[in-house]
């Protein structure tokens, strides 16, 4: 594991934007019988998700969230030294989306801007990069834009993934200040790259007619090779092996006991999995906020979305907070930080 420790850097503001279109899981009767839907909703804890329209990209949701953050906190665009865009649903295969967002947001041309291609661990990874840049003398503020529109890569005829995934865009401002210490643990295991993937449409398996054909699997899911696929049992096994251990690692590196932890914000994978990890850690369930009931699993955006939707008016104790993400790659990471100075904007719709 890579351990990164910083001091005097922190999150000063967070905002989030979700599409206005709601899809309720109870309306998925075209996909499976009612009794099965009820059981799935009960297990994964997701009642509804937000889905972006065809013409709305992850970057559009992030742009709206960033505008809101800059306005609410009276941040001058000139004060932003770096913009990092984390997503696996960028605008184009080339160029990167971050410079486009730099231009759209009116940030100066002196802004360094680049994309990070990671899934559910992406927010923690992006945060570690943002903290590292903000530690430098030449950069005062970093804008971390994390968004995903999984609805564009999940087949509507996929019984596993359709109930799970929603869309969201978020903006997080990282800067120097009296934020105390932060400890990151970052990890990878590429031997499991096939556990969650979109096999075609890149350069290993370029787009082709064959790759776009809808094929039905033994369980009745219909997907093309350009749709997202996931082996749920492998993901659960992966999470069981790494999540409690990684969270234990940042706690131990920080000298904080599980009893003294104020909050643990998981990547919102699904309630079955994260409830299980909470139990394994012997942490009170009251310390693990959830946004997935109304927004589903929004991949890399799920942690900042949870901060906005759940911490705006609740969870006043936030001095010792762990954020933890795990997913495709395989890639996982956790961070212990202080969120007391984090200003949270109202959730907006696109």
């Amino acid at each position: 594991m890579a351990i990164i420790k910083t001091n005097g850097i922190g999150i000063s503001a967070v905002s989030a934007c979700v599409p206005s279109k709601v899809e309720r899981n109870c309306d998925l009767e075209y996909l499976m019988p009612r009794s099965e839907i009820d059981k799935i909703i009960n297990t994964i804890g997701i009642e509804e998700k937000r889905l972006a329209d065809d013409k709305v990209c992850s970057s559009d949701l992030c742009f709206a969230a960033a505008k809101k953050l800059l306005y609410d906190n009276e941040i001058e665009p000139e004060s932003i030294g770096a913009l990092i865009f984390v997503s696996q649903t960028p605008d184009y295969r080339q160029p990167a989306t971050a410079p486009i967002l730099q231009h759209r947001l009116g940030l100066p041309k002196t802004t360094l801007a680049f994309d990070v291609n990671l899934a559910c661990s992406g927010f923690v990874y992006g945060l570690s990069i943002a903290y590292s840049f903000a530690s430098q003398a030449g950069i005062d503020r970093v804008l971390l834009l994390v968004g995903e529109t999984m609805s564009k890569i999940v087949s509507r005829y996929d019984k596993v993934n359709t109930p799970l995934f929603g869309d969201a865009g978020t903006a997080t401002l990282i800067e120097k200040g009296d934020f105390g210490n932060a400890v990151f643990s970052l990890n990878s295991d590429g031997s499991g790259y096939e556990v969650m993937m979109v096999p075609y449409g890149g350069f290993r398996n370029p787009s082709c007619e064959e790759g776009l054909k809808l094929v039905e699997d033994a369980a009745g899911n219909r997907r093309s090779e350009e749709h997202f696929r996931m082996n749920g049992m492998d993901v659960f096994n992966f999470g069981m092996r790494v999540e409690p251990k990684d969270i234990g690692c940042v706690l131990s590196e920080s000298g904080v006991s599980i009893d003294n932890l104020d909050l643990l914000i998981f990547h919102q994978a699904n309630k079955f999995m994260t409830d299980f990890y909470t139990k394994r850690l012997k942490l009170s369930p009251e310390k693990t906020p959830y946004s997935l009931r109304y927004f589903g699993n929004t991949s890399s955006a799920s942690i900042p979305l949870t901060i906005v939707s759940e911490l705006k008016n609740s969870y006043p104790n936030r001095e010792r907070v762990v954020l933890s993400g795990f997913g495709a790659g395989l890639s996982w990471g956790s961070v212990l930080l202080d969120l007391r100075q984090c200003r949270i904007s109202d959730l907006i719709e696109y």
């Binding site: 799935i40 082996n231 049992m233 659960f236 096994n237 092996r241 299980f276 394994r280």
Partner: protein, 78 residues
Amino acid sequence: MVDEKQFLQNFADQFDDEPEGLSLETLFRDIDGWSSIVALSIMAMCAEEYDVILSANEMENANRVSDIYNIVNERIEQ
């Protein structure tokens, strides 16, 4: 050695409607109510009760209750 009776009870508890007459020889995929969610629940039960983490392959290749029971026993003895 894992207590067989307790293991069978733990296994049966993962189904919404507890199956009657569950034994180590039962083909658990044939039980009414079997689903991928029950499979995940069994994996969670093995981790929670016996601290044994089953891989997806182990779960997918198992058919009889004894297949899971034997894996748990082997891991505990290691």
